[in-house]
Each structure stands twice: as C-alpha cells, then as structure tokens.
Symmetry: C2
Subunit: 559 residues, 2 copies
C-alpha cells in the first residue's frame, strides 16, 4: 500500500543568487513559515534607489496560512524589509528573534510611526517554538553580531537545519566559542536537509578568529601617540566592544559618531551587549577636552560613503574633528564590493591630512562574519545531512558551495542549486527544483515609493545620466501653421549651453523646418508624427554634431 508522501516546499524569495535581501519560506501541509525579511543595497545601474526588498507576490492570498516568522540575527539584510512587508503579511503575525535582534527591529519600527506595534517574542539558545506543523529549535551561532541564531526545524518531512550567517570561532572576544558538541548533537538527531551560508564558499581557508583581530588592534593602540579614529560597520557590535575595551586598557575615552552606530550602541549599552566603565563614553563634541593620546573615536564611514563621519573628517567638514599629524585612522572593516573606488578616495584624502592609516590589507584588523571552505566542510561532516541546499550568496558562491558538498561526500543528486523564485521540493527521499520560476524580481524602494520604480523609470534615469536631456517647445499658430517666435530649448546634462549657442541656433532652425514642412501641406496635421520627426531628426542632428544622445522631448503647443 502506498501512502501519499509528505513533501515540503522551500520558497526562496531573496538571498539565493545575490548577497543580501534574505527571505525564505517553508511550506508544508498548507502552512508557511517565514525565515528572515531582509533588504539589499541597489546596484550601480539603479540610481536613486534606496534599497531592494523581496517580492512577496507568492504569499498573496496565503497570508492566513503563515504561522510565523523567525529572524536569525539583527543585520538589515535579514530584518530590513520588515517595515515594508509587514502590513501586507498581517501585523499580528508572530515574530521570534534573539534579544538584540528584537531590540533592533523594535527600534527601527520607530521610524515608521504609521505602522502598528509588532508582535515579537524573544528567543534564546535552546528555545523551542512550536508553529504547527513546524517546530523551531534555536541554537547559538557565531557571527559578527550578538544573538545570532541557527535554526533546527522539525517538519513532517524530516529535520532541516538553516545555518543563517555563521562562522566558527574557537576564541571569540566577548562572545562564547562555537559549541561544536551542540552541532554534533544536532547532527545525531538526523538532518534531512542542510541549508548553509555560502557567502564564504569561494574563500579557501578558515575565517579569522576575533582573538587575532583583538591582538592586532592592540598593537596599533600600543604605538599610537595621537587620537585613534576607528571606522567600522555600524552593526559590528562586537568590534565596537573590542575598541571600547582596548581604549579602557590604554586609558582612552571613547566617543561614538554616526547615526546608525550611535543608535546601535545605545541599544546595546541598555541591554548589556556593550559594556563600558562609567565615564568611558563621551560625546564627540567633548573630544577636544582630552589630550589626543587619551581619545578614541569610533565612527561610521569605512566604505567611503559621501556623508558618513569618516569622509567628513577626511574632507575637513566635521564639526568637531580636524585631523592632526599624530592621529591614527583604522579601517576595521572589509571593502564591500562596488565600494573600492570610494574607499580609495577616502584613504587618499586621509593620507593628504598626513595621518597614519591602517586597513585590513596591511594587517588583520578585520574578520568577516562568514565561514570559509574549511569551516563549511567541517559543518557538513558534523551534521551529515542527506540533502544539501546552499543559501545566501551570489550564484557563483552557491555553485562552489555545492561542489564542496560533493567533495564532502554528499551525492550530486542530493544537492540542488536554486535561485530566488525557484521552488525546491523536498521529501524523505528526494530533492528537486521547479524549472519555472515564481515572481521574485526586485521590488525597489525609493523615498516613500515601494515598487513604483520599475524598469522604465530606471532606464530613463540611466539614459538621462549618460547624455542628459533636451526639451524642445514649439508654439504653433493654428491659423498659419507657422512656429511662433523661436522654439524654446531646455537642456540639462548635455552640453554647457552658454558655450553652444551655434548648436542651439541650428537646432531651432531645424525644428522650424520640420514643423513647417508638416503644417505647410494643408489639411489636418498629425502632431504625433511631427513630434516623432522632431525627436528623430533632432536626435540624429545632435549626435552628428556631438556624438551624444540626450533624451529628446518635443512639446508642440497649438494656439
């Protein structure tokens, strides 16, 4: 007798085939569990876009089937889309998150006062939450933010492990070392499917321990005579704690500057995730009151962001900080791909101020938060999953992670490399993937608009940015068919108009010719045709003269 087998769908809405915007749904027996709701930063060809959130079209009409959402940690690529999605999913949806994660989510909601209060339950290492038919057991992971949690999920099909972002660290600072015994114990309970972080799957070795970072940072503290200005990610709580502790050891006060960092430090101080002695923390306007050798400034802007603190300091635009020869600037961060040039510009500006600069290429003063190949492989060996689905990462990382799984002994047929929108089907003895993709394209947030910037708007922005625009306004006398006066031209981003009078004069003449050729024949005038003629002929004319193709917008007004 054959009984209908249990199956489970894994629906990746973000984070598979890209870095960031993590969101995955598990679906079985008509019930859905959401894991994370993150955003990602726009790409370079998306000017004006603030960020990109997951497309939740798949969940439309299924809102009532969602049993809850679990959040693995407090980075925005895992929680940042909440304010944009929650009103579509149902605001009373039960959320589960670690202590710091919960605090960061709550704090962020303050920026969205129109949204109702969230329903978040705090969970800790070892907690078990039943969200029928799923049972989620949270286990501590090492990453570069406190309260990072992995998920051991029992389902009717079998046990799944979702690692979220993680690395192994046997000697972390201000955090517990990786609990390998726990991981082995989870493995012994039988893991049907492992979903594991691929971000580091193209890095050959092992992530650095925070102990090494701490030691190297201390070397810099030992030799620095002036102020220490340390820039890092605003969300890198552990690194901030390290810098606070070192400052205390070397008798330095600490100021924190940068909106996101100040907010995070405030939350973390309150909840005890950052510990400091009384009097260590000062405000940035007070750093002048202390000798240079007694001050550390921890700030944002290590990616060379135009308006962030470090760039303002480098450009001598900061209200309270002017660099001096003895100052030391530490970049305790990696360079996010795409930011290489702005970071170089920032470094140059700092050197122009004559300060000492330390960055991660010169010395190990930053460790990433993601397991590399050695760690990834050893996790697979501990958990011994039957099936494997690489998650979190560019497509190339997913492929390389899958190849690592084959090396580690998982049969190729038990591995699936899926992308956003490709539903994965899992049963006790099979994993497969739909060829057809569900809707999972980018939803762009620009200002108050969510999803209203689409391909057309973006393409126009790109065109406008390349050669600018050229508006031609011709007022036409209905009686005579003649152009009244001279056509108006408004152009921006094309050529410097004051130096192009001749070009403009010739263009006006051309416009008059085109119009009067059409109106001069008598009968009804086809204005659509006239406008097309202006667009094409003026376009060709301008290209011949300049080899540029501004966007041409003809306006014809009959009076």
């Amino acid at each position: 007798m054959i009984t209908k087998q249990n199956t489970l769908k894994i629906v990746p809405l973000g984070g598979l085939g890209e870095v960031g915007r993590n969101m995955t749904c598990l679906e079985t027996q008509g019930k859905i569990l959401i894991i994370d709701m993150g955003f990602r930063m726009p790409e370079e060809d998306m000017p004006g876009v603030d960020f990109i959130i997951p497309n939740i079209a798949y969940l439309k009409g299924k809102e009532k089937s969602i049993v809850g959402a679990v959040f693995t940690h407090g980075h925005y690529d895992h929680i940042g889309a909440i304010p944009y999605l929650i009103d579509k999913l149902g605001v009373r949806l039960p959320f589960f998150a670690g202590g710091l994660t919960k605090a960061i989510i709550m704090k962020r909601q303050d920026d969205f006062p129109h949204l109702p209060k969230l329903n978040i339950t705090q969970v800790n290492d070892g907690d078990i939450v039943k969200l029928d038919p799923f049972t989620v057991e949270f286990f501590r992971q090492n990453h570069n933010i406190s309260d990072s949690l992995g998920l051991f999920i029992s389902t009717p099909v079998g046990n799944l492990i979702h690692t979220s972002d993680f690395k192994f660290d046997e000697t972390p600072i201000f955090d517990l070392p990786t609990n390998f015994k726990k991981l082995e114990a989870l493995g012994k309970r039988g893991v049907l499917l492992l979903m594991s972080d691929s971000t580091g799957a193209e890095e050959q070795s092992h992530s650095l321990s925070e102990k090494i970072i701490m030691e190297n940072l201390e070397e810099i503290f030992k030799i620095s005579k002036g102020r220490i200005i340390a820039a890092t990610f605003g969300s890198l709580i552990n690194r901030i704690q390290q810098l606070v502790a070192l400052s205390e050891k070397y008798g330095r006060k600490v100021a924190v500057d940068g909106y996101s960092m100040k907010t995070n430090v405030e939350i973390c101080k309150k909840l005890g995730y950052i510990k400091s002695e009384k009097g260590t923390l000062i405000t940035v306007d007070k750093i002048q009151d202390y000798p240079d050798s007694k001050v550390t400034l921890i700030c944002t802007g290590a990616q060379g962001e135009g308006q962030a603190v470090l760039m303002r300091i480098a450009n001598r635009e900061h209200r309270f900080v002017r660099l001096k020869k003895d100052d030391t600037v530490i970049f305790s961060s990696s360079v996010v791909p795409g930011n290489e040039r702005t970071v170089q510009f920032l470094k140059d500006q700092l050197y122009r101020n004559g300060v000492k600069v330390f960055h991660y290429k010169m010395m190990d003063i930053h460790a990433g938060g993601h397991a590399q190949r050695q760690e990834l492989r050893s996790l697979m060996e501990m958990l011994k999953p039957k099936f494997f689905l690489p998650i979190h990462g560019q497509y190339s990382m997913l492929v390389n992670h899958a190849e690592l799984a084959i090396e580690a002994g998982i049969p190729e047929k038990n591995i699936v490399v899926a992308e956003n929108g490709q539903i994965v089907h899992l049963s006790e003895d099979k994993i497969s993937m739909d060829k057809k993709m569900i809707e999972s394209n980018y939803v762009m947030v620009d200002g108050l608009g969510v999803g209203d910037v689409g391909e057309v708007v973006l393409r126009d922005r790109q065109t406008l940015s390349k050669d600018g625009m050229f508006v031609i306004i011709a007022v036409i006398d209905r009686q005579t068919g003649k152009v009244k006066g001279s056509p108006d031209i408004i152009s921006r981003g094309f050529v410097y108009l004051r130096e192009s009078r001749e070009l403009l004069r010739d263009t006006r003449r051309k416009v008059i010719d085109i119009v009067e050729k059409s109106t001069g024949v008598g009968g009804a005038v086809n204005w659509v045709y006239v406008k097309d003629e202006i667009r094409n002929k003026v376009g060709d004319f301008l290209y011949a003269r300049t080899e540029r193709r501004p966007m041409i917008l003809p306006v014809v007004i009959e009076v």
Copy 2:
C-alpha cells in the same frame, strides 16, 4: 664665488594621485621634454564621460619650447591622449617610442582621420636620443606589454631615471628576463633623482613571474575537455602569446574576438610580437568547424563590460558561440577597482550556463605588471638615487612608496610626494615642491566634445539620474492671466506616470494656483518669480508626497 645653480622643474600633469592618465614634463633652461600622454577612465560619478585626459594649460604659450615627447609603452594610460593633445602641442613635435608602442600609436591615429600624420621615431633598448638640453637613453623594462622602456635622462642638473610601469621578472615568457646588470650599471653612473612606479607600492611581496602563470594555464589546458574560452585585457600581448603557444601545444586552433584585441593581435602578428604556426589562427565564425577539444577562443570582456565578447557569450547573445557544459572559461586578468560587481554578475551568468570557471583568486593565472614592495626596494638599492619622487599611483600608494624609500635609506628630506599640478624643483642638492598648484583638473572627453563637460553638466546628470526630471509647461492667456487648459507635464525617471494620475492632477492644480495668484494681482507679471515659485513649491509638494527630488523645469508661455 657662487654660480647660479642649474635647476630643473618636474611638472606632473597626470598620473600622480591617480591611476592612469600619465603625463609628466621636465623643464630646464627654457626647454621642455614630455613623457607620455595617457588617458584614464572616468569615475563612477561621471556618467556619460568616455575618458579623462591631462589638462595642458601649463604648456600654453610654451609650445615652441617643447623639444619632444617620449613614450614608455603602448598602454592607453600612456598614449591614449595623443589624438586630443597633439594639435594643441604642434603636430610635427618629434615623438620617440619603442616598436610596438609606435605601431599602436599609428594604428590609433587611423580613428582620427582629420589629424595630420605624426612624426614618430622608433627607439630600442640602449638607444640614445639628444633633445637638448636633455639626453634620453632608453632601457628595456619588463611589464606586461612588449617594448616597455625605462628612461635614463641626462640633464644639466644631473641624471634622472623614470622607470615608467615595470616589474622584475627573472623567468618571463616570450620576453627577456630583467637585466639587473644594466640597472646596476645605470646606478653606477650616478642617479640624482629616481621617479619610480608606485602602482604596486601597497602590495607586500613580489609580483608573480609569467613562468608561474604559464604553468598554471597549462594545468587548465591539460584537464579541459571542451572549448577553452580565455578572457584577458586586449593589450596583454604576452598573455595572448602564451595562450596561443599553449593552444598549439595541445592541438587547439585559436580564434580571437573583441575589437581592441583583434586590432592588437593584427599589429603584433605583422611585427612579430605574436608568433603562431600557419593555420593556428582561425576566425571566430569557424570555431564550429572544429571539435570542441580543439578550439581556444581568446577574447575581451574579463571586466564584465556590458557589450564585450565574454558578456555576450554569457548572455547567449554571441553570434557564433553558445556555451556548453564541457566548456572552460578562464579569467586571465585582475579585476579593475570599481568593476567588482559587474565581474561578479558575469561570473554568475557563466556558472548559470554550467561551465567551469577559473579566475585569479582560485589559481595564479594572472600576474599584474607592476613591481611590488620587494622589487621597488631592490630597485632603489641598485640605483642608489640621491632624491626620490614616487610616480604613477593613487595618493596612498605614493605615500607608501615614499615610506618604503625611507626604509631603504633615502633621507626623508630628499623625498617629495607630489600630486598632479604640483611643480617639483630639483637641483644638485635639493628637492622641493610648490605649495600652489597649477591648473591640472580633469579634462573630460564625451563623444566629440573635449573639455565641454564640466562640473555643471555632470552635476545635472547626477541629479537627473537620481530622481529624474519634471517639466511643467503652462500656457497663459495674456488677456485674462489664466492658465489655458491644463498645464502639460513631461516627466522621466521620476515615477511611473500611468500609476500616478492623482499625483499629476494635484500637481497641475498647484501650478494653476501659483500662476493665477501671481497674474491675478494686476500690473506687470514677474515671470522669473512665477517660475521660481513653481520650481520651489512643486518641488516641496512632490517631495512631501514621494520623498524624491526630481529636477523641476518650469516653462511659461504667454499667448
């Protein structure tokens, strides 16, 4: 008795404080020698700009004093600005360049048929050219293009060495090994000033020898069953030669694709810089005629450029090449800073085609062309210069190179870190630098325009790219002061208009209000004021509704 001492000015017009756009002038006794005339690629915030050339305002009025121009090698960051500068400097100016450099310069001039023929003399290793008061002795350097030459320049002040781009390679492929004896001999003749390539001054060790690259490439040839598709820089002649030689060894035909690469290969074949057996080279439309295991395609596009060959292949848009599972793609190139994301996109697309991908992070299959710290230091030790001026590189690289010189024993006061536009003064016993800078800002080339894209045009392009534009056209009845009909609105890149009818309707109403409030009071209407009002009030209104700031362009037409 004190005699007036000889002095020499070094005038950096490009390449100091940036990578690319190399051009330096030496000036003494009223005579000027030019070294290189390169361009550089635009930065990310310069949409539409093709490239950036040196600003030669300093040379205006001094054209007759220029005794000649010497070119160190054939890369565009050393020769690319010639067509844009030569008519300003005097077309009969004597040029001196190595054989391949000369050929590439000549070939490029074909694209500029309006320019007269250049006056180029070919020089070789050991050649001496007298350009009074300068005597230039050319010596062979290893770089990643053939016929790279360093300059030993005798001047009334003393001997200068200009390394240009270089690295040490004791086991190059298809090139002679670095001639250390020659370098030592030059050092023994007394070097007053060393001007040395700083591009690799932040890299800790020694550049890789081409021998290693060749061996690793051969490993890939050994195991590849399908076609080999190798992407590299179009100017990397030696690498192309390596790939041709390996293909012959493994019985593969070679097709070359990509405009710049085909042009270069053509020149190099003719002049003997690339050698191949008869029948090895085939055209790309013929690769289907051979078994996959017998074909290599060498192509451009390793930087992920949108329209280059490799991207077209990855996107299945190439006329003759469709990827197959057994194909191997080799990135034999580094990633130029700023291109990380496009290269990642390209890699992902290739993986989606199921092919094998090799890139320089996985295996040493690319070597840069620039000496790293060990080599830079050993050069200083061989040449024993009295003074030191780091050239070619971002400001941070120049500073780090200067620090290396101090480590190598050159006194700090004998070292100058200058940037473009900062004139350096050299005499037998002193080096110094002007605080005041001469004009040396970017000259941008966009289409046919040279220098006509300035800050205003660029700023407009940036604004347009972020939130688009919004043109409002109001036709006003002169008699009544009323707006005739409804104001026209043309908007691009702002919101998707079809979905924003309400917003447009409200905006039109607002415009009518603003206009009629001004015209309703009687008397002469201040149209400038009305336009400003429209710009500001509609701007604020749109921001309140969308949190976007499109460029607003009001047009008021009285009839």
